[in-house]
């Protein structure tokens, strides 16, 4: 995957020195007064280019907060985050970001698209934030629809005319069409039926191979994460419990919580509910 740098010369990313994403001692506090909670505490890990990291955690683990921090929607309190070479820390975390840096695919297929704008307009907004004219970018839009296996006629339809799985495809297209360096997928399969989940995951795997995506895939579902990740991070109550290669995590977890998590998945060898 090549990108043009500011001085107009194309540069290959065959041997990157820095990882795509570096999270270093990240701490985030949410709420105020009596409702203050430490959503994240001392979290550190990296995502190399063209690799996919799966982030697993249950509710209250802080995984959504982490996604929002990367997207710049939640401010950093301690530590720092480096995305594509750009540093963000407390005080600078809210500054304007280059949309080409990082894009987010949201969880809820029903609220990720504005009900009053067509699918084509949704993509147009990503390509051209200010004017968002679907007609201007029609060919690019159609190309992307093809990539996510939707018909070109989808561009003129409204979100309510699509199924949940189809809306996720549109959301994926919208996130990827700006060619961001990093993609964060926030629980994108959680609200879908099992068979539809499989379809979306297979699409994502395909796109990953095709575009050499760098991805952070967030989910509460271990099985899903296993499919799409090279490395896995396990989060609990705001702390990173374990980080390692996907196979190691699943076959020889080092942390006690990770083991418990694995044993709780129905169908796993350690899953026992009858004595």
């Amino acid at each position: 995957m090549s990108r043009e740098t500011a001085d107009g010369a194309a540069s290959e990313q065959a041997v990157p020195e820095r990882p795509a994403v570096e999270v270093d001692g990240l701490g985030v506090v949410l709420g105020s007064g009596t409702a203050r909670t430490e959503a994240l505490r001392g979290v550190s890990f990296t995502i190399p280019y063209s690799r996919s990291v799966g982030l697993v955690g249950e509710s209250g683990s802080g995984k959504s907060t982490l996604a929002k921090v990367l997207a710049g929607l939640v401010p950093i309190d301690t530590g720092r985050v480096v995305i594509g070479g750009e540093r963000f820390s407390a005080g600078t975390s809210r500054r304007r970001r280059d949309p080409g840096l990082l894009q987010l695919i949201p969880q809820d297929p029903f609220s990720s698209l504005s009900p009053r704008r067509t699918a084509g307009q949704a993509l147009a907004e990503a390509m051209d934030p200010l004017r968002a004219d679907a007609r201007r970018h029609r060919s690019a839009i159609e190309e992307w629809f093809e990539r996510v296996e939707l018909p070109a006629s989808a561009a003129a339809k409204y979100p309510h005319e699509f199924s949940g799985g189809q809306r996720q495809r549109i959301a994926i297209a919208r996130a990827l069409c700006t060619r961001p360096r990093i993609v964060v997928a926030d629980e994108i399969t959680s609200a879908l039926d099992l068979s539809v989940q499989v379809e979306v995951l297979e699409l994502l795997a395909q796109l990953r191979a095709e575009l050499g995506l760098t991805m952070l895939f967030i989910s509460h579902d271990l099985a899903v994460v296993r499919h799409v990740s090279d490395e896995v991070a396990v989060l609990r109550s705001g702390e990173l419990r374990e980080f390692g290669a996907v196979e190691q995590i699943f076959t020889a977890p080092r942390d006690e919580y990770t083991s418990r998590l694995l044993d709780s998945v129905p169908g796993a060898p350690g899953f026992r509910i009858r004595d």
């Binding site: 709420g31 007064g33 009596t34 409702a35 203050r36 909670t37 509710s59 109550s237 705001g238």
Partner: protein
């Protein structure tokens, strides 16, 4: 990540007290500012178009407008805190005395009206919602909508006038003016309550329909308890919570209704007094009455908030302004 406060009430009451104080301060400042925001020369406006220069200066001195602004405000503020609201320009009577005489009349009408409105609206709205649930009795739904729609469109003074014509003039059963007996309360109370009843019973009906759709009502049904118990014990508490939040506007508006209805029924309350004072440019009177009425309205809203918190403990922690 469940950070639950174990003692939410002190913080809540503190917040309410702060809001009350803020509102009162705003009221004092606004009422003070009335005389100062008049376009042109306030003293001349009050004294009249054909007053001599001497009379204008005299008025200016009486209004206190010749003193520095801060001193004027301090005079006013200290007066408010000691319940001294100045004297009427027209009669020289102390404003607080006039208000003390007239406030009970306005307040009593408003209170009766509010009680009537709450009682009838809750019963009517809940009944209609229950009877039309699941698209039963669709005719009732239409009839209710049309009837309340028409009543809502009737201004309070029209209702008052019609009531007078029917009950006082034609049938001669109830008094049309003055506040002499308990019977005098009947027509004005009905007049100011009718519109809010229509408005609030619609609100109750809408909220009740939402409440009845909730999962916890299905849970209650699953416990096979009587319909009455389902409604009374499970629906009403939630209904009160959502209704009270929105009813504040309606109920506070009844104060406005009470003020207007006094012109129709020659009711010796604050309404007529404040209107006359505005026409006559009797600023101390205007200021004093608006301050009082505003204070009552804000106090009423605070009371509603507290009742709401008693009914639905979740609102205790909602520091946000947006519901």
């Amino acid at each position: 990540m469940n950070a639950i406060t174990t003692r939410p009430w002190p913080a809540f009451l503190l917040r309410k007290a702060a809001e009350l104080l803020l509102a009162m301060v705003a009221l004092v400042v606004i009422t003070f500012a009335i005389a100062h925001l008049i376009p042109g020369d306030a003293a001349r406006v009050v004294a009249g178009v054909d007053a001599t220069a001497e009379q204008v200066e005299d008025t200016r001195a009486r209004l206190g407008l010749d003193r520095p602004l801060a001193a004027q405000f301090w005079d006013y503020l200290s007066g408010v805190l000691t319940a001294d609201l100045g004297e009427s320009f027209r009669t020289g009577q102390p404003v607080s005395e006039v208000i003390a005489n007239r406030l009970p009349f306005t307040a009593s009408i408003a209170l009766f009206g509010i009680a009537l409105t709450l009682g009838v609206s809750l019963a009517l709205g809940l009944a209609v919602a229950g009877l039309t649930r699941g698209n039963r009795n669709p005719w009732l739904d239409s009839a209710f909508g049309w009837a309340t729609g028409v009543v809502l469109a009737l201004p309070v003074y029209v209702i008052g006038a019609v009531l007078i014509v029917v009950f006082a003039v034609n049938w001669g059963v109830l008094p049309a003016a003055g506040a002499d007996s308990l019977y005098s309360y009947v027509l004005p109370t009905i007049a100011i309550a009718l519109g809010p009843i229509a408005s609030m019973s619609r609100l109750v009906r809408r909220e009740a329909a939402v409440v009845l759709e909730q999962d916890y009502m299905r849970t209650a049904r699953g416990r096979r308890i009587s319909t009455f118990r389902q409604y009374a014990k499970h629906a009403v508490p939630n209904l009160l919570a959502s209704t009270l939040t929105l009813s504040g506007l309606i109920l506070a508006g009844m104060i406005g209704g009470a003020i207007i209805i006094e012109s129709v029924f020659a009711w010796p309350g604050l309404g007529r007094a404040v209107v006359d004072s505005i026409i006559e440019r009797d600023y101390p009177m205007t200021r004093g009455i608006i301050l009082t009425v505003g204070a009552v309205a804000v106090a009423l809203n605070t009371a509603i908030d507290i009742i709401l918190a008693l009914v639905d403990p979740r609102t205790l922690r909602a520091g946000k302004v947006l519901a």
